[in-house]
Amino acid sequence: MSLIKVTELSCGYEREPVISGLTFKVDRGDYLCIVGENGSGKTTLMKTLLGLIPPLSGTIETGDGLTRTGIGYLPQRTAVQQDFPASCAEIVRSGFQGRKKPFSFLTKEEKQQADAVMDRLGIRNLAGKCFRELSGGQMQRVLLARALCATETLLLLDEPVAGLDPDAAKEMYAAVSTLHKEGIAVIMITHDIDAALQYATHILHVGETVFFDTKACYATHPGKPEPAEKKEVLS
């Protein structure tokens, strides 16, 4: 059973499909990059996967121990957050909230776990710092740590390097790559085809042509593959 299996999915807002007839799956150990032009519906697809907007048709099944709410999500940063008075530790720990009962407070184990996650991403020294005073790269790491508090299985990253300078982007990719090697499956939306080809195991191209395959196959059809060459890898 795959972690996520998407079958004949159409998604969009108000019955206007942005993407339709999409079929793909993500297994443990996969690193899937979703690429496509602006406005091709990458973010809409991600929101549908997360259950933030309902699918127009088709199914999204989760399995292999993953539930729909057990996905760690790294959203694009919002204007509200840039000016939010919160310490990094508070933000990282808020990743546990979805797993907890409403009235319960954080346990000692959870606080230690949050510290361990921050260690893992090398941001323990930022714990007491104010989120709005961090650099873009540091903010992304803090939000990545929060996502790790919400999952051990699958991360969904929405343009994780948007607005970062090249060095910070490189560090971000390296951090995600390390997590992937440690056994976490990754789905990442990106504009950056080079990075996708460097790190991903699978590539999903959305837009006028829809293409889902392993990286090796994508490389032989760079850019937009012809519909005739579209491959079905699901069996």
């Binding site: 933030l52 996905i71 919002t78 939010f84 008075p85 919160a86 508070e90 990743g95 919400a150």
Partner: protein, 277 residues
């Protein structure tokens, strides 16, 4: 001066005013942090005008317990306003502006047409600016206020983790399984309760000040959500107590004095931030 104060404190209505003032300022400051951060500051303002309209209706109907009309009407408006705020098609700020001035005009019109009192402008003025109402509280109103305030504080503490998660990042909270709509509703109802309570202290025009000033002041000084919330609550209680005492000693209107103290505290916090560099 201290003797004069002690003499005043021996009157029950002064003690009631202090108890209610402290509780209301505490609640409004805590929720104020959430409202300011969620960019909902204007909602307190809109709701207070709705509450003014509701009071006018209650007065015209000749109800002895006005809370029975004001509280439900305000709660329903709060829920509606937060809903429209989420809907991109209807401009949330326009809806609020419309509702708030509409309720204000309608309320005054009703009071004017059907008033049983000889002194309409006095009635309107005290509803808008709360000039005397906090000093005329009955024991029952004080108890109601105490119970509702404690409920608001309990809700805030029990759901603290959730409230933080939903305020900081609603999409993430929803994606990880938190039912964010419920918390929106909870926040809406709580704001409505606070607005209705705060009308006693500062009147309906000045409520927003009680919600916004302490939160903004605390944000000048502190950098974590918890410390901002605690600081806003403490600052608000101190300012309300000071304001009430000054107004008693100097014979100034309670509501505007409290707000003036809050504004002064905000100025002070800005200065401290600037001096820190």
């Amino acid at each position: 001066m201290i003797e004069k104060l002690a003499a005043y404190l021996s009157y029950p209505f002064v003690r009631y005013a202090l108890i209610v003032g402290v509780l209301i300022s505490l609640c409004s400051a805590m929720l104020g942090v959430v409202l300011v951060l969620k960019r909902f500051s204007f909602i307190g303002d809109g709701l207070s005008h709705v509450a003014f309209g509701a009071i006018a209706v209650a007065a015209v109907l000749g109800l002895s317990n006005r809370m029975l009309v004001v509280l439900p009407v305000t709660v329903v408006s709060a829920v509606l306003l937060l809903r429209t705020g989420q809907n991109a098609k209807i401009k949330g700020d326009a809806a609020i502006a419309m509702l708030s001035v509409g309720a204000l005009a309608f309320g005054y019109l009703l009071m004017h047409l059907f008033s049983t009192s000889a002194n309409i402008s006095g009635d309107v003025c005290s509803t808008l600016f709360g000039s005397t109402s906090i000093l005329t509280l009955t024991k029952r109103e004080v108890w109601l206020c105490v119970i509702l305030s404690l409920a608001v504080i309990a809700v805030f503490i029990l759901f603290y983790g959730r409230i933080f998660a939903v305020t900081f990042d609603e999409d993430f909270a929803r994606a990880t399984g938190i039912r964010t709509k419920r918390y929106q509703l909870l926040i809406a109802v709580t704001i409505a309760v606070i607005v209705v309570l705060a009308m006693n202290l500062v009147g309906s025009l000045l409520i927003s000040a009680l919600v916004i000033f302490p939160a903004l002041s605390a944000m000048r000084l502190f950098k974590s959500f918890r410390s901002v919330t605690v600081c806003a609550a403490v600052l608000s209680v101190v300012c309300a107590t000071l304001g009430i005492l000054i107004s008693i000693l100097a014979g100034t209107p309670v509501g505007s004095t409290v707000v003036a103290v809050d504004a002064a505290a905000f100025g002070l916090c800005c200065l401290i931030r600037v001096s820190r560099g």
